[in-house]
């Protein structure tokens, strides 16, 4: 049984189910890939495979309902006097065994798969890769993402570039309310919470542009909190790093303070950016090494953070604006 199932899943099942589910999606192709049903990395691909497996196994329990319900509604309609009628029949041991047993077995099978896949695809687990892993520190701000490359001394807003085949190890926090970061074509999401660090690992095995986003509602600019994840060749990545270093501005305390104020990527670009940076994106060529740790630590230092110092808060006063007022 299991062998048949997995065969079905691995070959025909894949295609059939995928066709059914994704013909709608493929109707309009945007430049960015945005679905785990169209995966570009091992994690998303495994998630899709697991999704299809669950779908297939569940069908054992569901198809009988789909098929038998209409048949029975027709067969046992009031006017059909030919059908048997057993008004007092209310129990059968064998039937009950089947009713409890089959769902139980399906759930048992699915549970073992759940067990394996949850461990295998744990977002905290580093992904083995031939290329050297890229470390990225992610800070969620209202309403944009700040990506710090601590090893390269650069940072970006709303653009996450990395070489194909390299594992990207992200440490995630926010400097405002709770958010959730996801790049559907590569891997699932993880929450970003102030004062806390979560981890997410992704890997792309083909070049391309992938939609990344915040999925946790965080205020009026929430829908604009998207970024682009770009998987590129190693040469392209080196060129990209050089470009960021060349065209970027330093991410000092003032710049960070202004960046952290509530604004979309486009607004932040208008405020701090230069024409060399793409629309809605910012490049920083000098980053305080301790920036991520500072953001993470300032909530746990045991001192109150008044609204004026809390990015994203209604009463937040960005440093530059404070200077302008004096």
């Amino acid at each position: 049984m299991k062998a048949i199932m997995s065969q079905l899943i691995s070959q025909k099942g894949h295609r059939l189910v995928l066709c059914g589910l994704s013909f709608l999606l493929l109707s309009a192709c945007s430049q960015q890939r945005n679905s785990f049903l169209d995966p570009a990395g091992p994690i998303a691909a495994a998630q899709r495979a697991h999704f299809i497996e669950v779908f297939a196994w569940t069908m054992i329990a569901i198809l009988p309902v789909f098929i038998l319900v209409p048949l029975m509604f027709w067969r046992y309609r009031y006017r059909n006097h030919k059908a048997r009628y057993t008004p007092d029949w209310a129990f059968s041991g064998w039937l009950d065994l089947l009713m409890w047993g089959v769902p139980f077995l399906i759930v048992a099978v699915l549970s073992t798969q759940l067990w394996k896949s949850t461990h295998a695809l744990d977002p905290y687990k580093p992904i083995a890769s031939a290329e050297a892993p890229v470390n990225v520190q992610v800070i969620g701000l209202d309403w944009k993402w700040l990506f710090i490359y601590p090893d390269l001394g650069i940072a970006t807003v709303n653009e996450l570039a990395f070489p194909v085949g390299a594992s990207v190890a992200m440490e995630v926090t926010t400097d405002t309310v709770m958010q959730s970061i996801m790049i559907p074509a590569l891997a699932g999401q993880i929450y970003a919470m102030p004062g806390m660090r979560t981890k997410l690992h992704v890997l792309a095995d083909e070049t391309g542009r992938f939609m990344g986003e915040n999925t946790q509602f965080s205020g009026v600019g929430f829908t604009a909190q998207k970024f682009e994840a770009v998987a590129m060749t190693t040469q392209d990545f080196e060129a990209w790093v050089a470009k960021v270093k060349a065209s970027g501005i330093p991410l000092d305390a003032t710049h960070y303070g202004r960046l952290a104020a509530a604004s979309t990527g486009v607004q932040a670009h208008d405020m701090l950016g230069s024409p060399q940076m793409p629309e809605g994106v910012l490049y920083f060529n000098k980053v305080e090494p301790a920036l991520f740790a500072d953001v993470l630590g300032r909530y746990t230092h045991g001192t109150a953070i008044p609204s004026a110092l809390q990015p994203g808060a209604v009463g937040y006063v960005p440093p530059a604006a404070a200077g302008a007022n004096q």
């Binding site: 004062g195 746990t300 230092h301 045991g302 001192t303």
Partner: protein, 209 residues
């Protein structure tokens, strides 16, 4: 036995029959309410436990600075004694020692309850003096969310005792009054139970860690 005596502490009428059945419904309802209340306290305890760590303390005053174990021990003894005196009131009601006896024991319970509250409020005032206020840290928020909640319950219990003393005088020892005293008893003993949790988890547990 056609009508088993469902509430041994009760003496509702010559035959106990229907009166006991009604009391059964009332008491059962009150038990269910207490279970619901118990969940509320349970969650307040759970929050306290999750906050009792360096991050929750946030550099603010901790158990060692804020708690006065002598006072808390005195409160524990007083509250436990009040449960005993309430038990005496229940027995007085059960064995029909008259309104006077029940009133006496309820008054003792009330005084003990008020003494408990007095000591507790004094402790709270001390904590405020040393800056151990809820706005200081998550840990202190959890403390102030839990212990005063219990105190509020005790205060409500004291108010209830006063009302029952008035109603005993006004209505006599009718079934309604008796079943209310039974439910008040459940409430009072329940608060004792919660206090044992407060004493061990909040105070002893806090000081031990």
């Amino acid at each position: 036995m056609k009508h088993p005596i469902l509430h041994p502490g009760l003496n509702l009428g010559p035959h106990h029959g229907e009166a006991h059945e009604q009391a059964e419904t009332l008491a059962f309802g009150f038990w269910v309410f207490l279970m619901s209340d118990f969940i509320i306290f349970g969650l307040a305890f759970a929050t306290y436990v999750t906050m009792a760590n360096p991050m929750g303390l946030a550099g603010g005053p901790g158990p060692k600075e804020a708690y006065d174990l002598t006072s808390v021990f005195a409160q524990t003894i007083i509250l436990l004694s009040s449960s005993l005196s309430f038990g005496m009131a229940s027995l007085a009601m059960r064995f029909e020692r008259g309104r006077g006896a029940v009133t006496f024991w309820l008054s003792v319970t009330l005084l003990l309850g008020l003494a408990f509250l007095f000591l507790e409020v004094r402790d709270f005032a001390h904590m405020i003096d040393i800056g151990a206020v809820p706005s200081r840290s998550g840990f202190l928020s959890a403390f102030w969310g839990l212990v005063p909640l219990h105190a509020l319950h005790v205060a409500a219990g004291c108010l209830w005792i006063m009302i029952m003393i008035i109603q005993m005088r006004g209505f006599g020892m009718i079934s309604l009054v008796k079943t209310r005293i039974v439910r008040l008893g459940l409430f009072w003993h329940f608060l004792d139970l919660i206090w044992i949790g407060v004493f061990t988890i909040v105070y002893l547990g806090g000081l031990a860690s």
